[in-house]
C-alpha cells in the first residue's frame, strides 16, 4: 500500500480512505462543464484533529488538498486541479449548538443545508436561515464559502454576510477561531467590532484554509408565507419595479425569471415576490403595500399581478426549491450550468437582451433567473443553459455561451460569482493591481507551499 494511503488510514481509519479508481473518477468531476481532474486520494475525516493531521501530512509531503461539501457549485471549484487529496467533509455533519435568543447556530464543516433546515423545522419553529436553492445535500460551509445566496438574501445580503463566526484549519495545520468565538463562547459575529478576518477565508474556495465550523445567523420564521408574481413585457421596466418593491421593505425574497418555454412564460419577465407574516392581517398589509408600490406600472399597463395557480404556488413555496434542480433534466440530459454574475440591478435589461442573443447564437435552451441582494444593492443575474450531457457538441456550445456571458458581465461592471478558474484569472487581471497584489500576498502568507486547492486565486 502506498505510504500516503497508510498515513491517511492511520489518521481517519482504513474504511474512510480511498485511492481506488472509482472514487478518483467520481471526485474528479462535478455535474457542471469543467474538465475532470482526478485526485490521488479521497478521505472522509470525522474530527477537527483528523483534519489538522491531514493538513500537516499534506504540508510535509507537499500534496495538494481540496476540501469539499456536495460539489454543487457547478463551476468546478472542488475539482482537484493538481490531484492530491480531496477531503469530503460530509461526515462532519453535526449541529453543535443553536442559540435561540441570539439567533445563531453553529454547524460543522460538512453539515448539509437540508439537515439544518430539518433541525430548525423540528426543534425551533420560530427560527430559520437563508435556505439556498441548491439541493439539500449542499453544505452550509460550502454555501457561505462561495458567497451563496438564499431566501433571505434580499433582506440580509449574501449568505456569507450571515456568517457569525468560523473555525478554520490553516494550511499550517493550526486551528484558528474567527470572530466573536475567538474571545467568547458566543458566535454572534464573524468580525465586528474587531478587525474582520473572515475575509481571509470566505470566497477563497479553500485556498487559504478549511472551514471546520461555521456560525450561521438565524432569523425570525413567521407562521405564514405566500408568493405573488408581477409580470412585465419589457426588461426595461424591471429595475424600476425592483426599486419600488424594495422600498417597501415588505418582501422576503425577490426573484425574477424569464424563459421562452413553456409558452405561457414567453416574452414576459416575472418578478416573484415572497412575503411572510404571523397573522392574516400582517399578510394582507404586506400584500397591499407591495401591490400599491407598483400602482404606477399597473396604471400605465406596463405590468400586472398574474394569477398564480395552486400547483405553481406549491412549487414556488417549496424550500429548498426542488424545481431549481430539476431544470437540469429539461433536455433529458442531466445537466445545467449558469454564469451568475453579481451586477447592479439597473443592468437587468442589458443582461436579459444579451442572454436572448446568446441563446440564439449558440442554439441552446435557457432561462434567465435573478435574485435581489440586500434590498437592491445588487442582484445575481443567471445566464442559465440546460444541456444534454451525452451531446458533446451541445456541451461545447454551452461552454462558449457561458464564456461569452461572463465576459459580457464583466464588461458592464459586474463581478463573477463562484468564478471558474478562467473567470478567476480574468478577474485578477482586470482588478486594481494593488488589490490583486494584496490577494497574492495573503494567499502566499497563509499557504506558502501552494497546496490548498491549487489553481484557485492564483494568477499574476
Amino acid at each position: 500500500m502506498d505510504h500516503i494511503v497508510q498515513a491517511l488510514a492511520g489518521i481517519v481509519g482504513k474504511p474512510y480512505v480511498s485511492a481506488s479508481a472509482e472514487e478518483r473518477y467520481f471526485y474528479g468531476r462535478d455535474p457542471g462543464l469543467m474538465p475532470a481532474h482526478a485526485p490521488d486520494y479521497v478521505v472522509l475525516p470525522r474530527s477537527v484533529e483528523e483534519i489538522q493531521a491531514i493538513v500537516r501530512l499534506a504540508g510535509r509531503e507537499k500534496i495538494p488538498l481540496v476540501p469539499m461539501g456536495a460539489g454543487m457549485s457547478l463551476s468546478g471549484l472542488v475539482i482537484p486541479q493538481r490531484g492530491g487529496i480531496v477531503l469530503d467533509m460530509k461526515r462532519m455533519d453535526g449541529i453543535l449548538k443553536v442559540n435561540e435568543a441570539a439567533r445563531y447556530a453553529v454547524v460543522e464543516g460538512g453539515t448539509s443545508t437540508g439537515k439544518l433546515h430539518a433541525h430548525l423545522n423540528r426543534y425551533y419553529p420560530r427560527l430559520r436561515f437563508s435556505t439556498p436553492d441548491s439541493p439539500a445535500a449542499a453544505t452550509v460551509a460550502a454555501n457561505v464559502m462561495i458567497h451563496g445566496q438564499g431566501r433571505l438574501t434580499q433582506q440580509q445580503g449574501f449568505n456569507s454576510d450571515m456568517v457569525s463566526g468560523l473555525e478554520v484549519v490553516l494550511p499550517s495545520g493550526e486551528l484558528c477561531r474567527i470572530g466573536s468565538c475567538a474571545l467568547s463562547d458566543d458566535w454572534f459575529s464573524k468580525g465586528p467590532p474587531l478587525p474582520d478576518l473572515s475575509g481571509l477565508f470566505l470566497g477563497w474556495f479553500g485556498a487559504t484554509g478549511i472551514l471546520t465550523k461555521v456560525g450561521i445567523k438565524l432569523y425570525p420564521r413567521k407562521k405564514m408565507r405566500d408568493v405573488e408574481i408581477f409580470i412585465t413585457d419589457s426588461p426595461d421596466f424591471v429595475p424600476g419595479i425592483l426599486y419600488e418593491l424594495t422600498h417597501t421593505e415588505m418582501a422576503e425574497d425577490i426573484n425574477i425569471f424569464a424563459q421562452p418555454l413553456p409558452l405561457i412564460f414567453s416574452g414576459n419577465h416575472h418578478i416573484v415576490i415572497y412575503f411572510t407574516g404571523d397573522s392574516a392581517e400582517e399578510m394582507e398589509f404586506k400584500k397591499r403595500t407591495l401591490f400599491h408600490a407598483l400602482d404606477g406600472f399597473i396604471k400605465n399597463k406596463d405590468g400586472g399581478f398574474m394569477t398564480v395557480g395552486e400547483g405553481m404556488k406549491k412549487t414556488l413555496l417549496d424550500m429548498p426549491q426542488r424545481s431549481a434542480t430539476t431544470f437540469a433534466d429539461v433536455t433529458k440530459g442531466g445537466g445545467f450550468e449558469y454564469s451568475g454574475p453579481i451586477v447592479p440591478i439597473d443592468r437587468y435589461p442589458q443582461c436579459s437582451r444579451k442572454l436572448d442573443e446568446l441563446a440564439v447564437k449558440y442554439d441552446l435552451k435557457y432561462h434567465a433567473t435573478a435574485r435581489i441582494i440586500d434590498k437592491g444593492h445588487a442582484m445575481m443575474f443567471a445566464f442559465s443553459f440546460t444541456f444534454n450531457r451525452a451531446d458533446a457538441d451541445m456541451l461545447n456550445r454551452t461552454r462558449m455561451a457561458l464564456s461569452e456571458a461572463s465576459e459580457y458581465a464583466l464588461s458592464i461592471g459586474g463581478l463573477f460569482w463562484k468564478p471558474t478558474l478562467d473567470e478567476q484569472r480574468i478577474a485578477l487581471e482586470k482588478m486594481d493591481p494593488q488589490t490583486a497584489r494584496l490577494m497574492k500576498r495573503i494567499k502566499e502568507e497563509l499557504d506558502p507551499q501552494g497546496i490548498m486547492n491549487p489553481g484557485n486565486w492564483e494568477g499574476i
Binding site: 479508481a21 472509482e22 434542480t325
Partner: protein
C-alpha cells in the same frame, strides 16, 4: 444494458440520499460507507463510466454495486422523473456484471446454492417443511390459499419461528390454506435483484407452471420479498395470481371479526419492510394488526413508512453480507432509532428484517432492552392469551 439511456441524466444532486424532510441520510450504503460513490448518484455515474470503458470492473466497483440494498429510498426521493427506474438500473448493472462473469464470490455462491439446492442454505429440499412438523399444516391440495413460506421462513432459525406463528394464526382463523413443503421452489426475488436474470426467468417459469398445474389462484406470502416477486415480476412471465402478504390477510380477518386478539401489554414500535412498504405500497396492514391488540401501545419512529431506514438486508445483502453489520451499518442505526421511542419491542413484518435487526441489537449491546418480534408472532402471542 437496459435503461442505459437514463444514466447520463443523473445530476448527482443528492436528494436521493435523504429522507423526505432531509433530517437524515436514508440510503443504507451511503450511511455506512459515506463515500458519494456509494450513494445512488455515485452508482449512476460509475455505471455510465464502466459502460463507457472509463473505469473497469474491480473489487471496489463490485462492492459499490452490490452494497445497494435495493430499498427504494432513492426511488421515493430523487427529484427527477426517471426516479422510478433507479433500482431497476442498479439491478440491470448487476446483470451486466453477472453476464461478464466477474462478480463477488458471495454472490456467485448464492446463485450456485439456488441452482443446485433450490435454497441459499445448501440444505436438502426434504427439510423445507420441517418447521411445520408439530403443526396441523396441510399440504397444498386445492385449498383457497397457497401459503408460500420461502427459503428464509423454511430454513432460517429465526424465520421458522415466524412461519410457525403465522401458520397458527391462519389455522385459528379457519383460513383454507396449504403449503408446498419440499416441492416449494425459491421465489427468485433475490436471484433477480442480484442480477441473474436468466436463473430468475427459469425460476419464475418453473414456479408459474407448478402453481398453474396445482390450480393455485391465491397466494399468501410470509416474506415481503416473495410478495414483491409474485406481484410485480411474475405477471411478465404469465403469472396471474392474487398475491397477499400475511399482514394484509390478518388485517382483513381482524376487521371481519374472524380473529380476535387478546390482551398483550407492551410498548412497541414498527419497522416498515422496504419490500412491503416502499415497493409494495402497504404501510397500514401491519399497523392495523398492532392497533387491534388490546394493551399494545404503538409509538412510531420518526423515520416510518416511506421514510423507513432499510435494515440493510435487501438487495441480496441478507445472504451476501456485502453491506455488512459493522460500524455504522443501517441495522444498527435502526435499532438505536427504535430504542429512542422507548419501545420494548421492535415489530417487523419480514423474516429478513427480523434477523438483521436482532443481530444488530446484539452488536449494539441492547439485549434485554429491546426485542424483535414479527407482527405475526405478536398476534400469535395475543391470540394464545385469549
Amino acid at each position: 444494458m437496459k435503461y442505459a439511456e437514463i444514466l447520463h441524466r443523473c445530476f448527482r444532486c443528492g436528494y436521493c440520499k435523504f429522507t423526505l424532510d432531509y433530517e437524515n441520510f436514508n440510503c443504507p450504503p451511503y450511511r455506512k460507507y459515506r463515500f458519494d460513490t456509494f450513494a445512488p448518484g455515485g452508482r449512476m455515474w460509475l455505471i455510465r463510466a464502466w459502460l463507457d470503458g472509463e473505469i473497469e470492473n474491480s473489487e471496489r466497483f463490485q462492492e459499490i454495486l452490490y452494497s445497494c440494498a435495493t430499498c427504494g429510498n432513492c426511488v421515493e426521493h430523487c427529484a427527477f422523473t426517471f426516479r422510478e427506474n433507479l433500482v431497476d438500473i442498479f439491478i440491470a448493472a448487476r446483470e451486466e456484471m453477472v453476464n461478464g462473469g466477474r462478480i463477488p464470490p458471495p454472490v456467485r455462491d448464492y446463485f450456485k446454492a439456488i441452482s443446485i439446492h433450490g435454497n441459499p442454505y445448501n440444505l436438502p429440499a426434504a427439510q423445507r417443511s420441517s418447521w411445520a412438523a408439530d403443526l396441523p399444516v396441510q399440504p397444498y391440495d386445492g385449498q383457497e390459499y397457497l401459503f408460500y413460506v420461502g427459503c428464509v421462513g423454511s430454513y432460517d432459525e429465526r424465520g421458522r419461528k415466524i412461519a410457525q406463528a403465522v401458520s397458527r394464526n391462519l389455522i385459528r382463523a379457519g383460513v383454507s390454506f396449504g403449503i408446498l413443503g419440499e416441492r416449494e421452489p425459491c421465489d427468485g426475488n433475490e436471484v433477480r435483484v442480484l442480477g441473474e436474470s436468466g436463473l430468475f426467468e427459469y425460476l419464475a417459469e418453473t414456479n408459474i407452471a407448478l402453481f398453474r398445474q396445482l390450480g393455485v389462484r391465491k397466494i399468501i406470502t410470509l416474506d415481503p420479498h416473495a410478495f414483491n416477486a409474485f406481484r410485480k415480476e411474475y405477471p411478465a412471465f404469465g403469472g396471474d395470481f392474487e398475491v397477499l402478504h400475511y399482514s394484509q390477510v390478518f388485517s382483513r380477518l381482524i376487521e371481519s371479526g374472524n380473529l380476535k386478539p387478546g390482551n398483550f401489554a407492551a410498548r412497541v414500535t414498527f419497522h416498515d419492510a422496504c419490500y412491503l412498504g416502499r415497493h409494495g405500497g402497504e404501510y397500514e396492514a401491519p399497523r392495523n394488526i398492532l392497533r387491534a391488540i388490546p394493551g399494545v401501545e404503538l409509538v412510531e419512529m420518526r423515520q416510518n413508512r416511506a421514510n423507513t431506514l432499510c435494515c440493510g438486508g435487501g438487495g441480496g445483502n441478507f445472504f451476501t453480507d456485502i453491506l455488512g453489520g459493522e460500524g455504522d451499518s443501517p441495522s444498527r442505526i435502526r435499532v438505536r432509532q427504535a430504542l429512542e421511542t422507548g419501545a420494548e419491542i421492535l415489530v417487523v413484518s419480514c423474516p429478513q428484517c427480523a434477523k438483521m435487526l436482532e443481530d444488530a441489537i446484539k452488536a449494539e449491546g441492547l439485549d434485554g432492552r429491546l426485542t424483535v418480534a414479527d407482527a405475526g408472532e405478536l398476534l400469535d402471542a395475543s391470540l394464545r392469551a385469549h
